[in-house]
Amino acid sequence: MKDKLIKVDYLARVEGEGALYIKVKSGYVVDVKLKIFEPPRFFEAFLRGRNFMEVPDITARICGICPIAYQMSSVHAIENAFDVKVDGILRELRRLIYCGEWIESHALHIFMLHLPDFLGYDDVIQMAKDYPEIVQKALRLKKIGNEIVRIIGGREVHPVNVRVGGFYRAPSKKEIKQIEDDLKWARDFSIEAVKFLAGLEFPEFEQDYEFVALRHPNEYPFNEGRIVSNKGIDIAVSEYDNHFVEEHVPHSNALHSRIVNRGAYFVGPLARFNLNFDKLSDIAKKVSLEVGFKPFCRNPFKSILARAVETVYACDEALRIISIYEEPSKPYVDFTIKPGVGYGCTEAPRGILYHRYKIDEKGLILDAKIVPPTSQNLKMIESDLWKFSATYLNLPEDELTWKCEQAIRNYDPCISCATHFLKVHIERE
């Protein structure tokens, strides 16, 4: 077989900038590099010296696709340092705004970034010519997710209303109620979407993954829980640094994470689905069983299905919260600033997002550590590419390249996040 180099200089339909490079020699894959050249932005460095109240506004700017995730991990970590507990309706309101971000981000990724791969289009705009109805409905779904974020947060990108202790202003019952009917439509369409997506052709590909996600005794995880895996991890968030390490590799501006003494792991919708299936709502469980999608699924291409099932869940959960919502008497809980270290980990649409802050007695940040989901998945994506490209080496160059890009998009990588991603090069010698 011919030697070749597969190169994609700028990976499309991922957030941020990066490249893929695969080298094939005498019929074997000899090198895979996912290059991240999105420039470093140094958030952890300039958070030092900032007041804790500014942190959620600043960390939101790490990523325009999932600002709520950054705000939620930030406020939870800081509240952990101050020993404050946000409970009751304020806690529900945080789940509700997170539902909005999941719906918006999942709709964007499923229909606009990933589905065109499965159906053989370059983008959603081309796809819209043959599937106008599904694209229009997808846009409406995305808009409903955004609407939730806008009502609670003030705007879709970089919301202004999230603060340590709760919110600056709690929305009125009337504001919250106005999205109810749209959400019922959104839940119906998401159910339809699961059935449609289950009919796609999925490449046969499985690996023995270690899936990592949060797990909470009573609920599908958003903001709280223990960090668990299918290979024995079961730890409190504060123990994260003892089990996960980040490495700096020469070809990437994003750090690579691995499990101490083990290696790559998998975070995101498929990990959450596999580890928390029992905690999905009845409607979400029913539709996934109906289409034959159940744990333990080891095919990363089915992440698109996990995303759709989670969208059903997020709509359902949002409806539950809306039905019990009463405006709280005060939009935040009071607390006293005290020095210490705080840990936070929440489930961003792309997977667990870990924050740790050391804070002084005046409430200034002494030290910050932020590990985005994409950094945690990078090693796994490279590992998938090694094995996946090896099984498809006889495909023509452009098809192989396309398949590899699709394998990357399974993870919905967000390069802006990971650098706080992508060119494809396949080289055959």
Binding site: F46, R61, G154, R163, V249, N253, S416
Partner: protein, 258 residues
């Protein structure tokens, strides 16, 4: 007779992707926008790319690497109109906080092997490198303003984007001023309108994501902040956010650093 559709390109430098996402967030208008222009280069949305020249280039993000400092010149050459979108492209963005510090120290905080990292000492706006036809403010931009700017350029007219302050929008909305009524420091008087006065509507002060308005009197406001009991270090921090390197904010913060 209709001629060929104008070509639109979207380029990215150091940023969070939030501003280009605003284009995809135009759910109701997206298919119309797509009908009016040919999206010729937009990697976040499509792998198909059409060669330049382009009628309109939207540029997101700031210049922070030697490679990007070269790339922006190439983009200028193939663009009839170059419009910067957002605080990163227009003022250096949140990553311009490095401009006040030693970047080497920053690299060592985040990365174990600083030698792998190639970056410039400063994060600079696009207009520091090439001629820019229009700068759209905001972190993120307002999507309706984006549509206004695109349609203005397509129709050869001046975009109708206000340069007055957030206070004007806040008054028009009928908000009670958070600074007057509750003593909450608010940058509204010196920040350019465009967001619709979101923060005061959510009971908090403006933290400046749309950058300085035309001819802002930053010192009058910051002295008022001192009267509210803020310290110089607080004022430095308030001015050093997403637009810290925009001149009025930069000079303001530097004055309180001494």
């Amino acid at each position: 007779m209709r001629t060929k559709k104008p070509k639109l390109a979207v380029w990215k430098f150091a940023s969070c992707d939030g501003c280009q996402l605003s284009l995809l967030d135009c759910e109701d208008e997206l298919l119309e926008v797509v009908g009016a222009v040919e999206i010729a280069y937009f990697l976040e949305a499509s792998k198909a790319t059409i060669a330049g020249p382009y009628d309109i280039s939207l540029v997101e993000g700031s210049i922070t690497t030697p490679h990007d400092a070269e790339r922006i010149h190439k983009i200028r050459k193939v663009s009839k109109y170059l419009i910067t979108i957002g605080a990163c492209a227009t003022a250096g963005g949140i990553q311009a906080l490095r401009n006040f510090k030693d970047v080497k120290e920053f690299i060592s905080v985040v990365y174990a092997n600083p030698s792998y990292i190639e970056t410039l000492n400063k994060s600079t706006p696009i207009a520091d490198h090439v001629f820019v036809d229009f700068e759209l403010r905001g972190c993120p931009i307002n999507k309706y303003q984006l549509i206004e700017v695109i349609s203005a350029f397509l129709n050869n007219r001046k975009p109708n984007i206000p340069t007055y302050s957030v206070c004007m929008e806040c008054k028009r909305k009928g908000n009670v001023c958070v600074m007057v009524s509750s003593g909450i420091p608010c940058l509204g008087p010196v920040v350019q309108a465009g967001c619709g006065a979101i923060c005061p509507s959510y009971n908090r002060g403006c933290y400046g994501c749309f950058g300085p308005k035309e001819t802002p009197n930053v010192f009058a406001l910051t002295e008022h902040f001192i009267g509210l009991g803020l310290k110089s270090t607080d004022i430095v921090r308030i001015l050093r956010n997403f637009n810290s390197y925009a001149e009025p904010f930069r000079k303001g913060s530097e004055a309180y650093e001494r």
